[in-house]
Symmetry: C2
Subunit: 259 residues, 2 copies
Amino acid sequence: MNVVPTSENGSPPVYREIAEELRGQIRSGRYADGDRLPGENTLMERHGVARATARQALSVLINEGLAVAVRGSGIYVRLFRPVRRHGARRLSKELWGQGRAIWQTDGEERGYEVDGLCVDETVADGHVARALGLAEGGGVLRRSRRYLVEGRPVQRAVSYLPLTVLVDSAAARRVREHDSGPGGIYARLAELGQAPAHFTEEIRVRMPTPEESQELRLAPGTPVLEVARTALTSEHRPVEFNEITMDGSAYVLQYDFDA
Amino acid sequence: MNVVPTSENGSPPVYREIAEELRGQIRSGRYADGDRLPGENTLMERHGVARATARQALSVLINEGLAVAVRGSGIYVRLFRPVRRHGARRLSKELWGQGRAIWQTDGEERGYEVDGLCVDETVADGHVARALGLAEGGGVLRRSRRYLVEGRPVQRAVSYLPLTVLVDSAAARRVREHDSGPGGIYARLAELGQAPAHFTEEIRVRMPTPEESQELRLAPGTPVLEVARTALTSEHRPVEFNEITMDGSAYVLQYDFDA
C-alpha cells in the first residue's frame, strides 16, 4: 500500500519535506551523480530536527533509488539514466535482417548483459494461447531471460513461439539453443518463411510481485511496466508472443508515428 | 513506500495470502463484476483466522480497486474495464480531419466527460520549452482538463501550444475558447497551416503525488502513467506538447507498427 503519511494537521511529515527538498536539489543538478549528500548531522542542524528524522529523510531517497549509502563514508547521489526504448525503430527489418541484436539499439553505447536464460517447451495457457491463436494447451517453445544494463537488472522477457512454426530445420534447431544466432529469433523465423511483418505492443503498469521486486532489485514503491508484444507475419499470423516485465524507473518508452 | 510485508519466517502474512486467493478468483471469473465476496465471518471460518485478519484481507482488495464496500450489505467485486488507447489510430488525420474528437476512439461506446477545463497563457519552462523548441520563457497557450470514463477520473491532460503559431484568426481565437470546435485543436492547427503530421509519444511510469492521488481518486499503491506527446508539422516543427497523467490501473496503451 502506498499511503502517503500526513501529520495531524494534514501536512506531510517533516522527514518527507526534507526528502522532497533534497530530491529537488538532485533533480535540478545542485547535487550531481556521485556527489555526497548532506549527512544526518548537517540535516539535524539545518532543519532543527532529531537524528531519527534526518535518517528517515535520507532513507526515503535511498528507497527511491536516488541515493546509496557507502558504509563509513556517507550517502551519495546515484542516478541511473533511463534506457530509452524506441518502439518501432528497434524492431525494423533492416536491423535483425542484418544480423544485429534488437538490444543493440536500446543499450546504445551502454553495456548490457543477459542472464538467467532458460529455454524449454511448455503448453500455452489462457492469454498466451489467445495471443498466438492456439488452442488451450497448444505446444510452445518458451525463451526466458533477464537483461541488465550497467550491472543493474532492468527487465525479464519471456518469449513464446508456437511449436507448429518450428518445423525441423537448422533454423528451428537454432531457436532452441541458448544463442539463437545472428539477428536472433526474428532472423530465424524469416529463414523459416515466417518473417515478422507487423507488431502490436500493449503496455500496462502495476506494482510488482515480491518475486519481481527481488529479481529486478526494485526500490520499494517502484512500479513495473508490462509490455506484451505480438509479432505477426505479413498474412497476420501470430508467430511470437513476448511478455516483458520492466523496472518502471529504468525505462522511457518512445513511439513515433504519423498522423 | 511500497514494502511488501513479510512475516518472521519470510513468507507473506496470512491476510495477503487470503487476498491473493480472492484476487485470483476475481481474475479467473469465479467472482464476476457485481458479485458479493465472502464476508469476514466466512473468511474467519474458512481460513481459521481472526476477524482483524479477514478484514485486512478484504481491505487489500478494496485498496486495489477490485472491490467496494456497500454499507450494511457487504463487499462487492467492482471491475473497471481498462480503457484501450490506440497510439496511432486515434491520432490519424482522417479522424480529426472529419471533425471528430480524439476521445471518441478511446471511450468507444462508453460515456466520457471532461471537467476542470482551464485555458490560460503562461511561459514555457525547462522541458516544455525544449519539447516545443522555444527559448526559456517563451509564451504558450495552456489547455488543461480532466477526463472521466463512466464517472471515474482516468487522466489529466495539459496541452501547450506556442503563441507564435496562434496568429490572429478565427482558428486561433477558437483554440483559446473552452470548446475548441469540431476536430479539436488539431483541426484548428490545420486551418492555421500547421497541421500535425508526426507524433512522438514518450511513456514513463511513477508513483503519484498526493495531489494526483486525490484528483484521479487513485487507490493506494496505484502508479500513474505519464505520456508526453509532441505533435510536429510535416517540416518537423513542434506545434503542440501534451503531458498526460493517467490512472495506471485504468489504461492499456496499444501501439501497432510494421517491421
